[in-house]
Amino acid sequence: MMEQLLLNFLSSYQIQVLSFIGIFTILAISLDIVNGYTGQFSIGHAGFMAVGGYVAAYLTFYHQVPFILATLAGAFAAAFFGLLIGIPTLRLRGDYLAIATLGFAEIIRVAILNLDVVGGARGFAGIANLSNFDIVLVFTLVSFVLLFNFTRSAYGRALQSIREDEIAAECMGVPTTYFKVLAFVIAAFFAGIAGSLYGHYLMFLHPNDFGLLRSIEILLMIVLGGMGNLWGAFLGAIVLSILPEALRTYNGIVYTIIVVYLIGVVISYQKGRYSLLKWITGIVIAGLTVAALLIFGKDIIVKYAGQMRMIIYSVLLILMMLFQSSGLIGLARDLAKPLSRKLRGA
């Protein structure tokens, strides 16, 4: 329905990008439950996505299981793996947990590479096209609402208390190990859903889609958007789904440079006192830089377009980490404050 409606305004390519925003939103908000809310550092989210995707695809391919049931089965399988991995590894802290989750995701990937029944290294081809924009939209909305409610309940508060101070949380009656495992299992469940949507959308799965880079991509979304805030994760998913697509073309690169530059200007200026003059100066400087790039840099940009993508990615993230640790959502909030104060005439 929505897809038909959108086709009037957007190309099917653009609708595909929107669909991926939805899938990555589910991945980002679920990872945010573990990394942002509970404060545990997991970088193996792609592993759970793979479990969900492959289990669901196996069921629809070999047993013609209805899509919804297959997706739920994939999600439960991923959640089961979450439990399996969570119980031993969540006793680890910080770097050690990160390495353990990373190792888990690699084990899953290598295991699938050697599983002939789902195509092994050739990839799993011929998956039915059971997922489309509408279905992704519904799953994304439902996932967002469920996880949002979850974070705003006693459960969410318990997770945040672990992030803030584990010992104090224990002393206030919060069974921290239980809640850490619960967070992990729930995150894995939704990653499994995303995996199924992904597989049935592309009609093809390959183990290498679920490598370290994919896990890091999801992690970057929540870091960029702002950890511990589902809206931030959503924002991060939007930006990092559109950005790589935008960076495919010369114009896209230029626009991206403008946006990144503006964000940089805003971040550096909001540290001091807010003033209109600073804003204007920033925009003028940004405009001049872009003009210079357009006049003198076109050849260079076109020649190195591939590398530009990674450079812009890195610069953006370094900027965020250094100056805006609360992410895009924090930036938006900080900007809204002085603006609304101005509007109220204070």
Binding site: A154, Y155, E164, A168, E170, M172
Partner: protein, 261 residues
């Protein structure tokens, strides 16, 4: 005088070693139901270690910790806290990024009456129980006079109010025993006066027993009925404030520090 009281918490020959260091050495002490007891001693005497042993952060090397007739030595902290022991920390450990209200609500976690499904789908039960625990939390905040700070980030409050928030959070567990670790530290004289009133009120309003670690002698001598004195991990004296303040061993342990009883 001690014989007639019902023991709520009792430490029986409790010791704690850290490697070769004996931080707590054969300590015998108890807190009766409804008691307001103090634990004092110079820096490094092992007072906070005793709190950590009672609340399960450390496991005792030797001895038993009996609470309400049950040995709780070595149980996990969240199990012990649900049995009715709440505490505050010497160096405030609030959930800084959360609001004052949320801090208190977390302590009501154990009493939430809804499950994961109610939470995710916002079933009527969720609204009913959230409303109930929020009212209870606000009630505690009002009693401590910080209800107007309910929606402030805990980490943004001034020091004295952070201390009060910690006490509110501990009280939200509805404990039978509350352990206060230097609640007057960093408070100004006026705040300290209020705190002394508050500690007495905690016992009467919340019907809990109190065990207090405090450096401010004025507070300890002013509110406690009975005081244990610890030095180098061992009890060197115990008794009423008058008895303890006249004990030469205590005076020697504090060496020059004045006991203004």
């Amino acid at each position: 005088m001690l014989k007639g009281l019902k023991k709520l918490l009792e430490l029986k020959a409790v010791s704690k070693n850290f490697g070769g260091l004996r931080a707590v050495n054969h300590v015998d002490m108890f807190v009766p139901e409804g008691g307001l007891y103090g634990l004092i001693g110079p820096n490094g005497a092992g007072k906070t270690t005793i709190f950590n042993l009672i609340t399960g952060i450390y496991e005792p090397t030797e001895g038993e910790i009996i609470f309400d007739g049950e040995n709780i030595g070595g149980l996990q902290p969240h199990v012990i806290s649900r049995k009715g022991i709440a505490r505050t920390f010497q160096n405030i450990r609030l959930f800084k990024e959360l609001t004052v209200l949320e801090n208190v609500l977390i302590a009501r976690q154990a009493f939430k009456g809804y499950g994961l499904i109610s939470a995710m789908f916002r079933l009527p039960k969720y609204y009913r129980e959230e409303k109930k625990i929020k009212e209870e939390a606000m009630q505690i905040l009002s009693l401590l006079g910080i209800a107007d700070k309910a929606n402030f980030k805990a980490g943004a409050l001034p020091y004295g109010e952070q201390r009060l928030t910690e006490i509110a959070r501990a009280l939200a567990l509805k404990p039978k025993l509350i352990l206060l670790d230097e609640p007057a530290a960093g408070m100004n004289p006026a705040e300290t006066e209020n705190l002394m009133e508050l500690i007495k009120r905690i016992r009467s309003d919340f019907k809990t027993s109190v065990l207090l670690i405090e450096h401010d002698m004025k507070v300890v001598m002013g509110v406690c009925e009975y005081i244990y004195v610890l030095d180098y991990g061992s009890l060197i004296s115990e008794g009423t404030p008058e008895e303890v303040s006249k004990d030469p061993k205590v005076i020697e342990a504090y060496l020059g520090e004045q006991l203004n009883a």
